[in-house]
């Protein structure tokens, strides 16, 4: 085994071990919860970057898939008392079906049209979440969703929830990374680069687009289901188009043709929201100012990254790597 290969295998293992070890270092329940939020966002953003960063298919409706997963899980566990793993699987499946239903009629749409169609889908789903009171409990929100449980093991503590969410995030990252590094990744990047060229190569554009949407929606749905059972409460506001825009911002800032960049962006942009808890000694007033200006930071970051660093974090990293190598 060469030294390079050893590094390539050991580094991810070490990183995974560090992620797993975090709850032993950090005993503060609140900080663990924030890192759990970051993991939940990361799962969605991995799926979104798969679709958007690699496939070039924009979605402004991903929060709706989270909602589908969350409400499915909530109903199956809180109302029907089904085992949590079953609920999680069904939640992912329902979100996948949602992705399929959005993808099929959207096949002809590109760029701006797709953006608007997914935005319309997101808004419509949000109205549905508000109006479908028997299933969603309307604007008041769905409370008392049972925590995740596997068999007789109930995952309640912040550390357990953190491990669960990041384990799912890790699996999602691994699966997505495998797909983008092999044939589907090339097909999606080809589709992004030139649809005509991809067609001429015999790439099954319809199949690839639909699969990219379904994979992406499934990850969002799983994240929503995990959110519902980890936090215990969901309401339609959590699945609004504003949230979708936030996910897209994470994917854009993270950079296209990258999964790690978007994961880092998801972590960073989630942590920024809780700056007061993370930065020791920050005054409460300063923290409040930061919170008030948080959307500005998002907006500015999107504009700046798109204008001046179109590749996002992913490209910055790649460039640095190239610089080191030469």
């Amino acid at each position: 085994m060469t030294r390079g290969r050893l590094v390539r295998i050991t580094v991810p293992v070490v990183v995974a071990a560090l992620v797993a070890a975090l709850p032993f270092v950090v005993t503060d329940r609140f900080l663990l919860k924030i890192f759990t939020y970051a993991g939940l966002n990361a799962i969605v953003v991995i799926g979104l970057s798969f679709l958007f960063g690699y496939g070039g298919q924009v979605s402004l409706g991903h929060a709706a898939f989270c909602g589908l997963g969350a409400y499915t899980c909530a109903n199956l566990t809180a109302t029907l008392h089904l085992p949590w793993l079953v609920a999680l699987a069904v939640a992912g499946a329902i979100a996948a079906v949602g992705g399929l239903l959005l993808a099929l009629p959207s096949l002809r749409l590109k760029g701006h049209y797709l953006a608007m169609a997914t935005l319309g889908f997101g808004e419509l789903m949000n109205l549905a979440f508000v109006e479908a009171v028997p299933l969603t409990h309307g604007v008041d929100g769905f409370t008392r969703i049972p925590p995740p449980s596997i068999g007789s093991l109930v995952l309640k503590s912040p550390a357990q929830l953190y491990w669960l969410v990041w384990a799912v995030a890790g699996v999602a990252l691994l699966l997505a990374a495998n797909m983008v590094s092999l044939r589907p990744g090339r097909a999606m990047r080809a589709m992004h680069g030139s649809e005509l060229g991809a067609m001429a190569c015999g790439v099954d554009l319809v199949g690839v687009k639909v699969r990219a949407f379904v994979v992406s929606a499934t990850m969002a749905g799983l994240s929503g289901a995990l959110y519902a059972s980890a936090i215990g409460f969901v309401s339609p506001k959590l699945f609004s188009v504003t949230i979708s825009v936030g996910f897209l911002a994470m994917a854009v800032i993270g950079g296209s043709n990258s999964l790690v960049g978007p994961v880092l962006a998801a972590i960073a942009l989630t942590l920024v929201q809780y700056l007061d808890a993370l930065v020791p000694g920050i005054s409460r007033e300063a923290a409040q100012i930061v919170q008030a200006w948080e959307p500005d930071v998002y907006g500015l970051l999107i504009v700046v990254v798109v204008l001046f660093a179109p590749g996002g974090i992913g490209a910055l990293w790649r460039r640095k790597r190239a610089g080191e190598a030469s």
Binding site: K33, K237, R284
Partner: protein, 416 residues
């Protein structure tokens, strides 16, 4: 512009050779992830130490948490609440605190966002180790944090008006505003007393409006009223022609508007323009100055019911209530150069209830004891009126604490 060849030279060394495709990717994500984790660990460790040094309930102070919407769509409400809480905490501390210990108020902004409210609750409970949570500002946020509150078993005193907060009962959750369950029958009684027999109801589809509508439907018959037309609108709507036309053409003698949203002003304006002749009634949602101001004269004569304290003299100038409310209003005005709105009042009450309970526990802050003490609140005179909680009533106010007002010009006057 670089030439192709120049770019070539730069990118050529990047090549990792044939067959290294899939491994290249692993390498590309491994290192940034490692970096991120390292940063995260450092930040977290720092955060922990920071939290530890400042955190924990020290023996010298009571740490009280408040989850307020200081940004987002309820920012105006949350800001009033923060003003009131700071004013009262300063006053209490200046007078030596409660049972000799000062209050340390920890305010967290939830940005009118349920997810942030939940995080805020966790932070207050686990990082700051507060003894109770005041808030949240909004009904959604108040509901969202219940799981956390239940887990910790400490009292939550909400300042939001949604009936759901105490109607879907939770042992640990209390509420200070006049809820729909008492305001609705009070206003219906007034409508009937004015000689009306049938009403049209116009409510919004938010939690407050939906909830109000349900109470109206339950209580109308009891007040001798029939509902001739039942119309709804969505928060954010700007055109109400459909609803108002139907109300205008209905047999209703009067219109009852139930909304806490900003749409109220546009609705009464539009009603005047469309020739809706029936008299209008409403609830606490209209007890804010933006309503008559925004309506620009169209709200003239609008009658609404809410707490007596909107005009403290309602209580009678020699009453205990008057003293409490007037004293608060005077100090608030002196501190912030504006009259307190009802939201400031609800915050005042939340703190007052907690402080009263603390006095009765003799300074003990065990969650169970404190919760029980809050539930045993009896005849505590606050902004909303005298509060008396029971094991089944966590709202604690009655129709006796309400009064009727009529809009005149850009303000209102109590109806005698």
């Amino acid at each position: 512009m670089q030439t192709g060849a120049e770019r070539m030279k730069r990118s050529a060394p990047e090549s990792c050779g044939k067959g290294g495709e899939e491994m290249g990717l692993v390498r590309s994500w491994a290192r940034p992830l490692a970096l991120a984790l390292a940063v995260a660990l450092v930040v977290t460790a720092a955060g922990c130490s920071g939290a530890k040094s400042g955190g924990g309930t020290s023996s010298e102070t009571y740490k009280v948490g408040a989850i307020l919407s200081l940004t987002g769509s309820y920012a105006a409400l949350g800001t009033s609440e923060q003003n009131a809480l700071k004013l009262e905490v300063d006053k209490i501390n200046a007078a030596g605190g409660v049972s000799g210990k000062k209050i340390d108020l920890v305010v967290v902004d939830d940005g009118t966002d349920e997810a942030k409210a939940v995080a805020a609750a966790t932070k207050l409970i686990d990082q700051d180790e507060v003894i109770a949570i005041l808030g949240a500002t909004g009904t959604g946020q108040s509901m969202a944090i219940r799981n956390e509150v239940d887990r910790a078993g400490l009292p939550e005193i909400s300042m939001a008006g949604g009936t759901a907060i105490t109607a879907t009962f939770d042992k640990f959750v209390f509420q200070t505003p006049w809820s729909n369950t008492i305001v609705v029958p009070f206003v219906l009684e007034k409508i009937a007393a004015d000689g009306h027999k049938t009403i049209a109801v116009l409510s919004d589809s938010s939690g407050y409006g939906k909830d109000g509508l349900a109470v109206i439907k339950n209580a109308a018959a009891g007040a001798g009223l029939t509902i001739a037309s039942d119309q709804t609108f969505n928060p954010g709507d700007t055109d109400f022609s459909a609803q108002l036309t139907k109300i205008k053409n209905s047999d209703a003698d009067a219109v009852l508007l139930w909304t806490a949203g900003k749409e109220g002003a546009s609705i009464v304006k539009s009603a005047a323009d469309l020739g809706v002749k029936q008299p209008w009634y409403g609830g606490s949602g209209q007890a804010k100055i933006e309503f008559p101001k925004g309506a620009g004269g169209a709200a003239e004569g609008f009658v609404f019911g809410t707490g007596k304290s909107l005009v403290p003299a309602n209580w009678g100038t020699d009453s205990e209530e008057y003293k409490v409310v007037n004293d608060f209003a005077t100090r608030y005005k002196a501190a912030y150069n504006q009259d307190p709105d009802i939201f400031a009042g609800h915050a005042y009450d939340a703190l007052a209830i907690l402080v009263d309970a603390l006095k009765r526990t003799g300074g003990k802050t065990e969650p169970a004891a404190l919760r029980d003490a809050v539930e045993q609140t009896k005849d505590l005179v606050g902004f909303g009126g005298p509060f008396t909680f029971t094991a089944t009533d966590h709202n604690g106010l009655t129709t006796d604490d309400l009064a009727l007002y009529r809009i005149t010009g850009e303000s209102w006057e109590p109806i005698k």
